[in-house]
């Protein structure tokens, strides 16, 4: 009975959509990279970097949107580095990605400590405030749940639609899908594999960084070590869960976030009877189960993780 009441409360849905937002950005970013044939394990570090850069900019007095922009640029820089290694040099995408994650996260922590050497309670900034969309937010229940969010959340929903349109309805989307499926055929069509893959990885990395920036500029109001806490890896699981399709990625992110929101509320309700660690574990366990269920049906992009070298068959 109690848990049904939990699901009916509008706060639960507001929280679900809030938790889903960074996952939507991150999953979409990873999806874009993988659709072009590049696995981007740099996601966890790029999210950390985005979270730091966004927060640091605003902490130094920049506008919130400038913070988001700078975060996206930082993400693009690391995306460019990853594509230099994996697209142009054809290095192992696994190891390069892990290297990018370690580098980006540790650089973020390094500069955080340079900025604030001895602070134990991280200083706060004024984050994005919820923005009720006129008229739409008046719709009973749904209006409050969906249309009283912070601006970046609306941006995430719009971005999903744009990404789906781009991927399936435009020449550039077709090119991205082609280089991820059959690069040799794409090359025969006169498509530059290297440029398209780099483009996808750079844009995708910008999305990942915005996912991180959402956490510091919208969800929380400060940066701290281990802020991302595996969200990037969960995005990688969500991409597989979504079979590399933007709208399914949105669905997966919402489903996962709903599960997380429920877990948080159950934790408060049940309290000390069950160790809190068990609740915190549930999202990760849920991801592994979801992966296992979907794995057989997953339609991997055929050229995922296959480096392309001109003239090699």
């Amino acid at each position: 009975m109690n848990s049904i009441n939990l699901l009916l409360g509008v706060e639960f849905w507001v929280a679900t959509i809030r938790i889903a937002t960074p996952l939507m950005f991150g999953t979409l970013g990873e999806l874009l990279c993988e659709r072009a044939g590049v696995l981007n394990l740099g996601i966890e570090g790029i999210m950390t970097m985005g979270a730091f850069v966004g927060w640091a900019a605003v902490y130094q007095g920049a506008d919130l949107w400038i913070g988001v922009l700078l975060a996206a640029i930082a993400g693009m820089v690391f995306g460019l580095l990853h594509s230099l290694f994996t697209v142009y040099l054809g290095l192992s995408q696994h190891v390069s990605g892990i290297g990018i994650t370690l580098l980006a996260a540790n650089l973020a922590y390094f500069f955080y400590r340079v900025l604030l050497p001895q602070v134990n309670t991280p200083p706060k900034i004024t984050p994005f405030q919820p923005f009720a969309i006129p008229l739409l937010s008046q719709i009973p229940f749904l209006g409050k749940a969906v249309f009283t969010q912070t601006p970046l959340t609306y941006a995430a929903f719009i971005l999903v639609a744009i990404a789906a349109y781009l991927l399936y309805r435009t020449p550039i989307g077709l090119a991205i899908r082609m280089v991820g499926e059959n690069p040799s055929a794409a090359e025969a069509q006169g498509i530059n594999i290297y440029s398209i893959r780099t483009l996808a990885v750079v844009i995708g990395s910008a999305f990942m960084a915005i996912a991180g920036a959402f956490l510091t500029l919208s969800a929380f109001d400060s940066f701290f070590v281990n802020l991302i806490n595996g969200r990037g890896w969960i995005c990688i699981a969500l991409v597989i869960f979504a079979s590399w399709q933007p709208f399914k990625a949105l669905l997966g992110a919402l489903l996962f976030a709903g599960f997380d929101a429920l877990q948080l509320r159950l934790q408060q309700k049940i309290g000390a009877a069950i160790p809190y660690q068990l609740f915190l574990m549930l999202p990760y366990i849920f991801s592994i189960i979801a992966l296992s269920v979907m794995a057989r049906r997953a339609g991997y992009p055929k050229a995922l993780m296959v480096p392309f070298r001109k003239g090699e068959r």
Binding site: L103, V114, W233, M281, S292
Partner: protein
């Protein structure tokens, strides 16, 4: 730009590659040091003496290298078969759990029996943890990268539960740490903070070297890594070999956890590993997955950490600098490996 594969990699080039990678990484990180106004040359001097300049420094470096040898070996074994075990961190902690469970009162045995026993338990715990992703991969093609990564977070939460709950040390003044291991479950010291875990790591590396070079299993693991289609065609039981690889890889990382609890810290806590599992990937890659190379590269990486600690104290820099240098060397090493395996020809 074109890459021509070399038929054989000259030994000199293979040895030079990691050294060049670390040197370039240090060079790339100089702007971060100059930030504080300390000349980079002075800073690297402090780093060198801090890590290798005295017997005390050597004992620090070797004690720091020991867990990295175990996780590095674990990663190297798995990567050689192209089984992407990114979960050495979790397997390391599971080994530490095994040492705590069996080493703190459950078994009342003399050290000569108890120590080998807890190492075996740590091996089994770590190996079993990696079996789950391996089974998921071989049975239903679940990508092992994501599952091993996610398991790290699950294991850390298990550790958090254990050290706050059932295994909590009541004498630790409310600090969340597990009961300490008694003297019977403590590894003897080698001098300073270095301990016998180092010897066990070296012995493990030699065993893995023999396995790689002489045993059928070692050959099969390499064959799967080199070309899985060809391995299948040659009749190698791929799934079975991958499961054994996983057991061995996770087991080695697990032994690292035992060594750290029994040799250095004395108890399990949430800060037992400052990312040894992830650094193990860097160690394995610098060694180009060679077990003896792992020993050397672990000492290199440990020296960077210990030296950077000394440097950051002197220059008042955040200690994350060491992590930045180490992750930069991983990326440099990737390029180095490419240059040893291929000749680069600029398009005419």
């Amino acid at each position: 730009m074109q890459f021509d594969r070399r038929e054989t990699v000259p030994l000199g080039l293979a040895v030079l590659a990691p050294i060049a990678a670390i040197a370039i990484a240090l060079l790339l990180c100089t702007p971060l040091i100059s930030w504080t106004g300390m000349p980079a040359f002075t800073a690297y001097g402090i780093m060198f003496t801090g890590a290798l300049g005295s017997p005390f420094a050597w004992s620090e470096t070797l004690s720091r290298a020991t867990p990295l040898m175990f996780t590095g070996l674990g990663v190297a074994v798995a990567f050689r078969a192209r089984f992407w075990n990114i979960g050495a961190e979790g397997q390391f902690y599971l080994g530490a759990i095994a040492a705590t469970l069996l080493g703190t009162g459950l078994l009342n045995l003399p050290a000569i029996i108890l120590l080998p026993l807890i190492f075996m338990a740590g091996f089994l715990f770590g190996g079993t943890l990696l079996l789950l992703p391996a089974i998921l991969k071989t049975r239903i093609q679940v990508d092992e990268v994501v599952t091993t990564l996610l398991l790290n977070f699950i294991v850390l939460l298990v550790v958090s539960y254990l050290v706050e709950g059932p295994l909590k040390d009541p004498a630790a003044l409310g600090w969340p740490q597990a009961l300490p291991v008694p003297p019977e479950a403590t590894l003897p010291k080698l001098g300073g903070r270095a301990h016998w875990g180092l010897m066990i790591a070296i012995a493990s590396a030699i065993l893995i070297w023999i396995l790689n070079a002489r045993a059928v299993l070692g050959y099969q693991m390499k064959a799967i890594g080199a070309n899985i289609q060809a391995a299948l065609f040659a009749g190698i039981p791929i799934n079975w070999v991958l499961l054994l690889t996983a057991l061995l890889s996770g087991g080695l990382a697990g032994m690292g956890g035992v060594s750290e609890v029994s040799g250095l810290k004395g108890y399990l806590s949430l800060d037992l590993s400052p990312g040894f599992g992830y650094t193990g990937i860097v160690v394995a890659m610098l060694a180009q997955l060679h077990p003896i190379g792992v020993l050397i590269s672990a000492i290199f990486i440990a020296a960077i950490y210990v030296g950077a600690d000394a440097m950051s104290r002197a220059a008042n820099l955040p200690s994350y600098l060491a992590d930045v240098i180490v992750s930069t060397s991983l990326l440099c090493m990737l390029v180095s490996i490419l240059l040893t395996r291929y000749r680069v020809r600029w398009r005419s």
